[in-house]
Amino acid sequence: MSQRVVIAGGTVVDPVAGKAAPGDVLIENDQLVGVFSPGAGGAESDTVMDASGLLVLPGLVDMHVHLREPGYEYKETIATGVAAALAGGFTSLACMANTDPVNDSAAVTQFILERARVAGGARVYPIGALSAGMKGERLAEIGEMYRAGIVAVSDDGRPVMDAGLMRRALEYTSMFGLPVIVHEEDGHLAAGGVMNEGVTALRLGLHGIPAAAEEVMMARDIALTDLTGGRLHVAHVSTAGSVALLRDAKARGLAVTAEVTPHHLFLTEEAVAGYGTNAKMAPPLRNARDVEALRAALADGTIDALATDHAPHHHDEKEVEFENAANGVVGLETALPLALRLVADGVLDLPALVARMTVGPARILGLPAGTLSPGAPADLTLVDPERRWRVEARTFRSKGRNTPFEGWEMTGRAVAVLVGGRLVYDDRPGTAAALRSAAS
C-alpha cells in the first residue's frame, strides 16, 4: 500500500540543476518521485503538505561532525547529536573516528551504526580512523571497516605527521574508492600554539599557530595525491594560502576536495580577544583576508562543501584558562542560518549554497543524498527563510553549549525535516500535530 505526499506551494531548490523555483515535490513512501510545476504533482488521494513561503531543499549533509559516542557520552551522544542535526536541517551526518575506543575497527563501526539506528532520524555514516588508535603509526584495518560501512578514513584531530604513512593511506584506500580526510597541521610548526599566529596572539600573550602549519601539510598531501592517485579531502580549510594550493591542485586535475566551516567564514582571530574559549578551535580562527579568500573559494566551487566540524564539549572543558581549554565548537544548530546569511550578503546564490551543503559533500563521500532526482531517498529540509531568532545555547538539542555565536540574531531556520519520507522534525507553528499524523 503506497502512500504519496505532495509538498506543495514552496520554492524548490535543486542544487544539481542550480535552480530555485516554485514547485511541488512528490514523495512515494521513502523515495522521491520528482519535482513538478506548481499544482501539477499531486493526485486526489495524496496527502498535501503545505510549504507556502518555505524553501524545499534536499536534506542537508554534514560531512564532518563529532558525535562523541562511544566514550564521551557526557559531551554528546549519537541520539543528542542526531536531534541537533535535525533541528539544524541536516539529514545525513558523517561522524569522525576520535571516540573512545577510536573507530579503528569494524566492531566500533558497527556499534555506531547500531546506536544511530536506535536513535532514528538522521542518517549517520561513520568515518574510520586512518591509523590504528589514531596514533599515526600504522594503517587501521580500513578494509574491515569498509565492509562494516565507513565512508571515508581520517585521523581528524591528530594530523598525520608521517608522510610515508599518508602516502600508503592514499594508495591503499584507492582500492575502496574511499577519500582520505586530512586535518592539515604540522605539529612542529603548531607546537604549543592555541590560536592564530599574529597581532592578536601577541597582544594576548598566547602562542600562535602560523597559517604555514596548515599550508605545508596541504602542499605535502597534494604532492602525495599526485604520486598515488588517491583521493584527498581537506577538512576545515582555514587560510588564503590553502585556498591557493587547492585551486592549483584542482586545476591540475587531482582528486582533491575541501570543506570549510561556518565559523571560519564568519569569525576572525579577533574573536579570541577577552580569552573567550568558545573561539578556540583547530584550525584556529584566522584573519579577515583569509575569511574573504574562503568565501570566494566556497562561491566558485574551489571549496566543495560546507561542514560544521560540530565538536561538543562539556562546560568544564571550556571554562578554564584559554591555553587549557578544549578545541572546538558546536555547529549543527547554527550552520544553516549562517549559510543563508552568505546568500543575503551576496557571496553566492542560494542553489550554489545548497549544493555545498547537499550534493557537494554527498558526492565526496558517495552518499545517496543531496539530490531531488526521481528514486532518491525522500530526505527533505523545509526552511523558513524569514524566521527570525536569536542563538541561545541553552536551547540547543546538542549537549554541547560551546558556540561562538551566542546572542547572534539569525534569519532563517529549518522548520520541518523529512528522512526517508518520514517527518522527523517539525517546528512549523500551528500545523505541527496535523502534519505529523499525515506524513507518518
Binding site: R203, L204, G205, V320, E321, F322
Partner: protein
C-alpha cells in the same frame, strides 16, 4: 581625570590620563613608607587575597606590604598549598574565594588570560600580578614611576626594551603604557624573540643592539628565561649574550649623562604603585560614597610628617 577601571587586568587600552592618575597617587603614597608608623587606615576592614600560582618573592611581598600599609587584612594563597594540585579549576577556586567576600584579589598565574577568567567569576576587583606572557601591569607602572622621577616626564622619551619580547609580559605592559603616554618604544632582539607583527603596536623593531639603544633615554634589559634555551629561539646563551648583552659601549651610546641603575628605586616604587592601585580599586568606591578625598583616606599624613621631622 577620574580612575574608572574596575579591575587591573592589563594596561592595554587604559587611557593615558588614568595611567597618570595611578602614578600621581603612587607618588603621593611614597611618603607613607618613610614614616615611623608605616600605616594608614584607608583599607581598614578590607580583605585582600594574594593568589599566586607561580613562585614570586618580590611581587608577592610588595603586594602584601602595600596592602598592610593601607591596613587591609591579607591572605596569601600559593599554588603549592592550594587546591590546584588536587585538580580544582581556577573557576572553582574563584567561586570559593568569592563566597569569602574578598575586597580584592591579586593574581599571578602561568596562563595568559587567567585574570580575565577570574574576573568573570568574582565581584571584587582583580589585580593582575602577571599572567602568562600577557601582561604584568604593576611592574610596568613602577617602571614608569621610576622613569618619571628620574627624567621628569614620560612624553617624548625613547625607551629601548631588549631581549625576549615574545614571552615577556613586562614588555607588553610597558609597551602599551609607554605608547599611551607618548614615548617612542624600541624593541630589540633577534627576530625569533621580536616577531615582525609587533610593529603593529607602534613599536620600532631592531635586531642590532647598538642601533636599538642609540640615544635612548631608558634601556630596559629583559632576562632570558632558562626554559627558552634549546627551543631554537637562539643557538646558545653564549651566542645570545654576544649580540644582546649591554656592553659599556652600548651604554655609552644610550646615556649621555652617565649610566646608573635604578633597580632599588623600582623596589620602593613597587610598593607605592601597588598601594595606589589597591586604594583606587578598593577604597575609592567607598570614598566616593562618603565624600572623602584621597588625602583624608590616607589619614594623618601631615601630623605624622611633622612629628617625624618631615623626612619625606
Amino acid at each position: 581625570m577620574a580612575f574608572t577601571q574596575r579591575h587591573l587586568l592589563g594596561l592595554e587600552g587604559v587611557p593615558a590620563a588614568e595611567i597618570t592618575s595611578i602614578l600621581d597617587t603612587a607618588a603621593s603614597f611614597k611618603e607613607i613608607s618613610e614614616r615611623d608608623i608605616k600605616k594608614v587606615p584607608a583599607l581598614r576592614g578590607k580583605t585582600v587575597i594574594n593568589l599566586f600560582y607561580e613562585s614570586s618573592t618580590r611581587t608577592r611581598t610588595s603586594f602584601e606590604i602595600a596592602a598592610k600599609r593601607l591596613s587591609a587584612d591579607t591572605v596569601n594563597i600559593s599554588a603549592s598549598t592550594s587546591s590546584a594540585s588536587k585538580g580544582e579549576t581556577l573557576a572553582d577556586t574563584a567561586r570559593n574565594l568569592e563566597a569569602m567576600r574578598p575586597d580584592a584579589i591579586v593574581v599571578r598565574h602561568p596562563a595568559s588570560g587567567a585574570c580575565h577568567l577570574l574576573a568573570r567569576h568574582v565581584s571584587c576587583p582583580i589585580l593582575n600580578a602577571g599572567d602568562g606572557c600577557h601582561e604584568h601591569p604593576t611592574q610596568a607602572l613602577l617602571d614608569l614611576l621610576t622613569i618619571r622621577e628620574h627624567l621628569g616626564r614620560l612624553e617624548g622619551l625613547t625607551v629601548a626594551i631588549v631581549g625576549d619580547i615574545l614571552h615577556s609580559r613586562v614588555a607588553r605592559s610597558n609597551l602599551h603604557a609607554l605608547r599611551a603616554l607618548g614615548s617612542t618604544v624600541r624593541l630589540v632582539g633577534p627576530p625569533t624573540l621580536v616577531p615582525r607583527d609587533l610593529a603593529a603596536f607602534g613599536a620600532e623593531l631592531h635586531t642590532e643592539l647598538a642601533a636599538g639603544v642609540r640615544d635612548a633615554d631608558v634601556v630596559m634589559m629583559l632576562r632570558i628565561q632558562r626554559e627558552r634555551q634549546g627551543a631554537n629561539f637562539f643557538p646558545t646563551l653564549d651566542e645570545y649574550s654576544q649580540y644582546f648583552c649591554l656592553t659599556e659601549e652600548a651604554v655609552r651610546l644610550a646615556v649621555a649623562d652617565g649610566p646608573y641603575s635604578v633597580i632599588m628605586d623600582q623596589v620602593t616604587n613597587g610598593v607605592a604603585v601597588r598601594m595606589a592601585l589597591l586604594y583606587l580599586l578598593v577604597a575609592r568606591s567607598k570614598g566616593e560614597e562618603s565624600g572623602e578625598t584621597a588625602a583624608e583616606m590616607i589619614g594623618d599624613a601631615e601630623p605624622v610628617r611633622r612629628r617625624t621631622g618631615g623626612r619625606a
